[in-house]
């Protein structure tokens, strides 16, 4: 029997070989040098039938402790926001799921229009003019922003605030040498970035990346940071949480050149870190330096409205070694999840989620009754507390009672041994927070 995903019968195969004029499938590989032909069978485990596959992978999945089994306050970049049922339903449509990049617009108007609508949503959230069709993830678009800024300004240095997600900073540092840029970090002062220090560091820099809210959950004086970068002639780049942008000001409204972020919280499950989407949006001035696919509006031969991939001369398939980026495959399906989620929320729903997160976080600060690490600053949905003993011990003890209390900041920041980063999304209830308080008090 043929494999279940293959469709040729023995009779088909014989007829096809005859049409080709060879006597066996083996003959089709005559251009492969003899010495390079793999002998024998690949050393892989035996094939599994569909029921066996489900059983095997279910067993693997069962050895993971997921958000439905443990009361979790983990955030730190990936968030347990509610994903509405319409997202699942629409993303499982075979047309969206199994199409590829819309190279042929007449075959792909649905994908193209959806991307155009996504680009619009991202521009509205961030207050920008131009968005691409998606980047790989938050860290990836941060590196992309540095590459854009380097070419726009001709400068060879980028500045990262230490309050930006450590994963983002690590990824930027990996790519920087190839881009020909040096990375400078600005230390945090009591949980936030000092605008004067930032301005000093930003001299001769291509861009400055700060986060709003930052990795500690604190709200930065973002307009001051953007102004500091602008004064130094560096492009201000805001790394933002899309879910916060119903309550927090849009980066475009306070002078940012580029806005970037991890999209996961809007429309994607946690999925052990991916696949998700990164978003990158910019002022109109930088449209020709943007990485990756962009969809534009036009008309067809009959004068009807339609959508196409546009400004493709930026891209690798045309400009090759001079391209604005090497990206080809992006994260369209995940970005579509984002668009559907944002359409489900609407402006009021987005604001409600933000306000719920704010209110729950304030309730949690009060209920936990632990000293805040950075008590001077307002926060969004995450905040750091002193647990009073090593955070790893606290996590271990709490997990034994079915509660994951948060992220140990000592993993990224020296001297923060007892600091726990606690995250509350709209899915956590006051009763959940009471339970966390009870477990941490024990």
């Amino acid at each position: 029997m043929a494999h279940q995903y293959l469709s040729l019968t023995d009779a088909d195969r014989d007829g096809m070989l005859e049409a080709i004029g060879v006597s066996s499938v083996e003959d089709l590989f005559r251009d492969v040098p003899e010495a390079l032909r793999f002998q024998g069978e690949l050393d892989l485990e035996p094939a599994l039938s569909e029921p066996e596959l489900v059983a095997h992978l279910s067993e693997l999945a069962a050895r993971n402790v997921h958000a439905g089994q443990e009361l979790s306050f983990l955030g730190a970049g990936i968030y347990d926001h509610y994903v509405p049922a319409v997202v699942d339903a629409i993303l499982s449509r075979g047309e969206f799921l199994t199409a590829y990049t819309p190279y042929q617009p007449e075959m792909s108007q649905g994908t193209l229009q959806a991307i155009f609508e996504y680009q619009t949503a991202i521009c509205e959230l961030t207050g920008m003019d131009v968005s691409n069709a998606s980047g790989y993830d938050g860290p990836g678009v941060a590196a992309d922003a540095c590459y854009v800024a380097k070419h726009v300004t001709g400068r060879g240095k980028v500045v990262l605030c230490e309050t930006v997600n450590p994963q983002v900073r690590q990824v930027v540092k990996t790519y920087a040498p190839g881009f020909g840029v040096e990375v400078v970090e600005v230390a945090h002062r009591n949980g936030v970035t000092d605008a004067h220090e930032l301005q000093a560091a930003a001299q001769d820099a291509a861009c400055v990346i700060f986060a709003q809210p930052n990795f500690f959950g604190c709200l930065e004086a973002a307009p001051d940071l953007a102004a500091a970068a602008n004064d130094a002639g560096a492009l201000p780049v805001a790394y933002v949480d899309p879910v916060s942008l119903g309550v927090l000001e849009a980066p475009g409204a306070y002078g940012c050149a580029i806005a970037i972020g991890e999209g996961q919280g809007a429309g994607n499950y946690q999925a052990y870190g991916g696949p998700h989407y990164g978003f990158i949006a910019a002022r109109r001035d930088f449209i020709r330096r943007m990485p990756g696919r962009i969809v534009g509006e036009t008309t067809d031969m009959a004068g009807e409205r339609g959508y196409v991939l546009t400004l493709q001369t930026r891209e690798q398939h045309i400009r090759r070694e001079k391209a604005t980026h090497n990206i080809t495959t992006n994260q369209t399906l995940l970005a579509l999840g984002g668009l559907i989620h944002l359409s489900w929320l609407g402006p009021q729903g987005l604001r409600d989620v933000g306000e719920t997160c704010l209110a729950l976080a304030e309730y949690a600060k009060e209920r936990l009754d632990l000293p805040l690490v950075f008590p001077e600053h307002a926060t969004f949905k995450e905040f750091a507390v002193h647990a009073g003993r090593p955070a790893d011990d606290v996590i271990r003890a709490a997990r034994e009672q079915g509660v994951h209390p948060g992220y140990a900041l000592r993993r990224d920041y020296q001297g923060m041994e007892d600091a726990l980063l606690v995250c509350v999304t709209e899915k956590r209830t006051p009763a959940d927070i009471d339970r966390l308080a009870e477990v941490l008090a024990a």
Binding site: I20, F38, I78, P84, Q167, Q331
Partner: protein
């Protein structure tokens, strides 16, 4: 069709959210949002209907035959979608403690082992998000390797074939190397004389797709590898065309030192309208110390992340890579087991059958058997009837097929790059053959029929010149221009692509 923003009406919403009786917490005034983002306001039935309508205006593999060359548009098994949605995978936080993620870690470890075996190399990193990020990672590994040997200042050049996808030269620049282009000989193989004369101790490496984008296996690959290795340089395998050789010939045995896989091509991650993909890389042992962190380590019983890698290039993506893609690809490969070779055999058989039946009607620039794909040229139709590859592609839509890749690779004029994949039945191939023959007849009898195609899609040919000049890339609400009824600014042009 209206944009979702044009359907919006104040006062509607699809979302319901819990309400807790808590005091309202305010953002400080100076940081507060002043003007709400203009997201659409719709009820849930309207949201569902809008996106369903967009879905019907989209052609996927589920809709029909999709022979888009170099993209490996094979069937996407539905069991994989069920598996990736198991809560233990879908709702798992990436910072969950290792003891609460043993199943996920084991899956990644097993996938690493499988991928290494398939290409015949020693170690795998699953981290890169897509093929192009895999390329960049591979080039950074080259840099780190030469830096470790004190040769990085000297080894500045990376060779790329003129048939290569655009990502290869773009990656070379982004990684800080200098591009050296190498041509193709009359059989479609790399120009060996050029390599012998130009590969030297300033060479960092070669990036190559094998089989090439022409669908041809490089017959001199052993000699190519010798030339680079003798000069102390490394070979990078662009895995875009790995679907041709699983269980047939292994890149590691061909002499490649670094390989990237496109899990969305070879191992059936659905393409999602443009992504997600995944671009894991495999390396020879000499490069293992430089792999991105963390590496998934295991002993068959217990699994963990290893961050203690002093020579690592760092992180190339957040967390550990696109995990959901790993679930699907792992399940896909486990469905074949050691018989994975059957997959590549069927892919190559399907391609050669199409080639055999089409080559009399369309020009064949390289008269050889192909691997999993092949490139025809419509230059005969252009010369005789003024009909281009673009016209053929657009007319195929009327017959219900997604067109092949066109105008790529760049070295073939009027190129039609066709990849049927292994999952198509003979009936689908025969239908496509009949359509291609019919279109060639129409080109002679009624070329206008082709030039005006497609005739039955939701839109006619689109004005790409107007799109580029106006660059309207978002809805502008009250200020949104209405381009309908405006005169066309340009004719439809040849659409190139890069896979």
């Amino acid at each position: 069709m209206k944009l979702i923003y044009e359907k919006s009406k104040a006062g509607r919403r699809a979302s319901t959210l819990p309400h807790y009786d808590l005091p309202k917490a305010e953002v400080p005034e100076e940081l507060r949002r002043k003007r709400a983002p203009r997201l659409p306001e719709l009820s849930e039935p309207e949201v569902v209907r809008h996106f369903s309508a967009l879905a019907t205006r989209t052609f996927g593999i589920d809709t029909g035959f999709y022979p888009l060359g170099s993209c490996t548009m094979k069937h996407n098994p539905r069991v994989n979608e069920r598996l990736v949605n198991l809560p233990g995978f879908r709702d798992l936080h990436p910072l969950q403690d290792e003891d609460g993620a043993q199943g996920a870690l084991e899956l990644m470890w097993r996938l690493q082992e499988i991928l290494a075996e398939v290409v015949g190399l020693d170690a795998v990193s699953l981290q890169p998000a897509a093929g192009s990020q895999g390329e960049l990672t591979g080039l950074m590994l080259m840099r780190a390797y030469f830096a470790d040997r004190g040769e990085s200042d000297r080894r500045a050049n990376v060779f790329v074939a003129d048939t290569a996808h655009g990502t290869n030269p773009a990656s070379v620049t982004m990684a800080g190397f200098k591009l050296q282009k190498v041509g193709t000989d009359e059989r479609g193989n790399l120009d060996l004389e050029f390599l012998r004369a130009n590969v030297n101790d300033e060479t960092a490496g070669l990036m190559l797709t094998n089989p090439s984008t022409l669908g041809l296996f490089d017959e001199s690959i052993e000699e190519v590898a010798r030339i680079f290795h003798d000069a102390g340089a490394l070979l990078y395998y662009d895995g875009a065309n790995l679907n041709a050789v699983c269980g047939i010939s292994r890149p590691g045995d061909m002499g490649f030192d670094i390989v990237h896989y496109n899990l969305h091509k070879t191992f059936s991650q659905p393409h999602g309208g443009g992504g997600p993909g995944a671009g894991p890389i495999a390396v020879r042992g000499i490069l293992e110390p430089f792999l991105p962190v963390p590496v998934v380590a295991g002993n068959g019983e217990r699994y963990r992340f290893d961050y203690d890698r002093p020579k690592t290039i760092g992180k190339v993506r957040g967390f550990y890579g696109p995990f959901g893609v790993f679930v699907r690809s792992y399940a896909f490969i486990r469905s074949y087991g050691p018989g994975l070779r059957e997959m590549s055999e069927a892919a190559v058989l399907n391609a050669n059958y199409l080639l055999a039946r089409l080559k009399g009607t369309y020009d064949l620039p390289f008269e050889r058997l192909c691997m999993h794909e092949f490139v025809l040229s419509a230059r005969n139709l252009k010369r005789e009837h003024g009909v281009s590859a673009l016209d053929v592609a657009k007319r195929l839509m009327d017959y219900g097929y997604h067109p092949p890749t066109i105008y790529f690779p760049l070295i073939v004029p009027e190129a039609l790059m066709i990849e049927p994949t292994e999952t198509e039945p003979k009936e689908a191939l025969d239908g496509f053959i009949q359509a291609m023959h019919a279109i060639a007849r129409e080109a002679a009898e009624d070329p206008k029929l082709l030039k005006d195609a497609p005739h039955n899609r939701p839109v006619r040919r689109l004005d790409e010149v107007k799109a580029a000049k106006r660059a309207i890339v978002r809805y502008q609400f009250d200020e949104h221009p209405d381009m309908r009824g405006e005169p066309a600014e340009g004719e439809a042009v040849e659409a190139q692509k890069g896979a």
